[in-house]
């Protein structure tokens, strides 16, 4: 603990000497030239996926970190976003427009696997350009964020968490079972059941017919994801410092006090759900096309916890902390564990298979030793500590708790 404290003060002095914008420029330049440093291999692949997870973690951070609403069903929005690209960027609905399909700024090559390029333009199904689908998906998931958030408004704490968890479980089930109409109405196949939708259209720029990237050259995919991350960070920063952002923090700290100061609780919470969900859909679209498949097996409860672990390990409420948490956990999951696996044959089991167990362990350790996360937001840390101090005064001090507080001091 003392070591961590010295580390923290050390960091403060280092960051104190360099102006913020220099650090930002260095980071941005590094992020942009990063693919040239690592080549186009599995490491870049893992990094690209990681960027998508960073977006999701930032989205969840709005709900959990800013507004303090524990959401255990974030995977629902990933699912909705991914299915939106599945519907609007594949041959899932072959009968649309008399079998000729609908095409909006989509390359004829994007609609095929790259190898089959140069096909007919009247390929069946709906094919809308990726960059348009991104925003369609954001709108749809935001709407669903409000719809799923609205019933939970009067709930707090555990009950809120469980209801969101239940939504996170229901949404994939509905997709999975809607293979012949919805609830037995109609006969449209929305999902191909457990098989999922594949292939998904690749990314092409609206004005170009060339595909942006291929398996041999993943760099453009990375840059698209990076652009999306920059957009997300920008929006997050602006939101945090906005009237709405301050309202979220007020609601998180004390609902009653916030309400009596004139904050509209319903509107504030619903905005948090809507915007948080929109980023889930935003990243979901990218992952859908990048993985080239949309499959209900991707949308399990573990995924929600995976994203939540990023937010918590990094530091709830702190944008930079969440990014660090997301990069660390995601790179560990996508690159570190498979590497470890190939190194350590004698272990006798597949380390990647227990990755969720490892995240669970991180969650546990973080919460017990350092509940405010690696890079905490100062305010959040105060809240978490305040509760400890109050708690130990209230109940006549559980021994190790007050000790822990002293050490932290």
């Amino acid at each position: 603990m003392r070591f961590l404290a010295s580390l923290r003060s050390g960091r403060d002095t280092v960051t104190g000497m360099i102006p913020g914008w220099v650090l930002a420029v260095v980071l941005i330049v590094f992020a942009v030239i990063f693919p040239y440093l690592v080549g186009s291999g599995s490491f870049l692949d893992a990094s690209t996926q990681t960027l998508a997870y960073v977006i999701m973690a930032l989205g969840l951070n709005i709900v959990v970190g800013f507004a303090g609403l524990l959401d255990l069903g974030y995977v629902a929005f990933y699912a909705i976003g991914a299915f939106v690209i599945g519907w609007f960027g594949s041959q899932q609905f072959p009968d649309v427009n008399g079998g000729k399909g609908i095409h909006i700024l989509a390359s004829d090559r994007a609609t095929f696997q790259p190898k089959l390029s140069g096909g007919r333009l009247d390929i069946a199904g709906i094919h809308i350009n990726f960059f348009i689908v991104l925003f369609i998906a954001m709108a749809i998931t935001a709407l669903w964020g409000v719809l799923l958030g609205a019933p939970t408004l009067r709930l707090r704490g555990d009950y809120l968490a469980i209801v969101t968890l239940a939504f996170g479980e229901i949404v994939p089930r509905v997709f999975e079972n809607s293979t012949s109409g919805l609830f037995g109405i109609g006969s449209t196949d929305f999902s191909h059941g457990r098989q999922g939708i594949t292939p998904i259209d690749k990314i092409n720029l609206p004005w170009s017919h060339d595909l942006l990237y291929s398996d041999a050259n993943l760099k453009p995919a990375y840059w698209v994801a990076l652009g999306m991350v920059f957009f997300t960070i920008f929006v997050n920063r602006r939101l945090r410092d906005s009237r709405l952002g301050r309202a979220w923090i007020a609601v998180r700290e004390d609902e009653v006090a916030a309400a009596s100061m004139g904050i509209n609780l319903v509107r504030t919470k619903l905005w948090a759900y809507a915007i948080g969900a929109a980023f889930g859909g935003f990243a979901g679209v990218f992952l859908g096309t990048y993985n080239n498949t949309v499959n209900v097996d991707q949308f399990e409860f573990g995924f929600s916890v995976f994203i939540l672990a990023m937010v918590i390990v990094g530091g709830m409420g702190n944008i930079w902390g969440v990014i660090v948490g997301a990069v660390a956990l995601s790179m560990m999951n996508r690159y570190g564990l498979p590497q470890l696996n190939s190194l350590s044959e004698p272990l006798g089991f597949d380390v990647t298979s227990i990755s969720f167990g490892i995240f669970g362990f991180f969650l546990l350790i973080m919460m017990v030793l350092r509940p405010e996360g690696l890079i905490p937001s100062g305010r959040r840390r105060l809240e978490l500590r305040e509760a400890e101090i109050e708690g130990s005064e209230d109940t006549g001090a559980v021994g190790d708790m007050s000790q822990m507080y002293e050490v932290r001091q």
Binding site: E169, I170, R173, S353, I354, G357, G360, T395, M401
Partner: protein, 352 residues
Amino acid sequence: MEAASITETASAPPPARKVGDVLNAYALPLLLFGALLAQFIYEPTGTLENVKTGLSNGMVWALIALGYTLVYGIVELINFAHGEVFMIGAFVALSLWQTFGVTESTGLALIVVSIIAFLVASMGASATLNVLIERAAYRPLRNAPKLAPLITAIGMSFILQNVGLLWRPTPDQVPDLIGSHSVYFTIFKVDVLHSDVFAVVVTVPLLIGLLWFVGSTKYGKAMRATAQDPDAARLMGIDVDRTISLTFLLGGLMAGAAGLIYALYNLTVRFNMGFTAGLIAFTAAVMGGIGNLKGAVIGGLIIGVIQAVSDGGNFLGLPLGEAWTPAVVFAILILVMVFRPQGLFGEETREG
């Protein structure tokens, strides 16, 4: 705050019950019962069959739900890892049968002895595990914000699930010691199977024993006191930490028993069975009014029946089926939590 609300309810005169209140209190049970009745008229034999399956299956959910409700009642924490404690109980039982080579062809006396002995063993293992979980993951956070222990609970759940994954990576067959699917007797054209009888015979004494323990012993009294107000309980000389450990112990015992019953009932175990079972049982606990022991049992039975009817595949012409069952159960969970957080029977709970 909690103390205040308890004195308030104690001193205030009982409020006059309006027609609306009564309707509100009975609306959900009546609705569920009405739906079942309609389904019975729609499809008599199938529904009776489903009710039978649901009630015996519901015994397992009731046992698990008790663990949730006990723990929530006393420390206001959703013990997410409880489903995994149940799974470990089932794994322990199966491992013991495998180690001692007990199969269908073993003599009857030995089978009975093994079931009783391993029931005790799996209950013990689950109880120990549950107590250790509390010690490692929840006790250090007793005074932290409510969010913190909930997150460690999820972490614990994932750790245990992966322990289960390493232990038995693939679904395992359980030896059919009780002849699960053979018919024991037939009543109203419904075949009652060995597994149904087994579930009832093992569960009912445990339930009665638990209710007696919590309701009539000194330790039970300490538990109830701690649930009402931990600080006051401490002042009265109750060792709160030990009482909380005892609560986790009892919950673990029930989960272990549920694990063994589930294994013999369904004849297959899997490392991720605890997650769904846990959520179903949690739904049962919420339905019965969390913190309310009898409510948890009744909730378990209701959920069992709902699940069986949904599994049956045709509810009043609506094409449900096993693929829809989780969604149905979760939808009911949401409905109850949002509209009736105090449970179907309107018992006072802290969350409500």
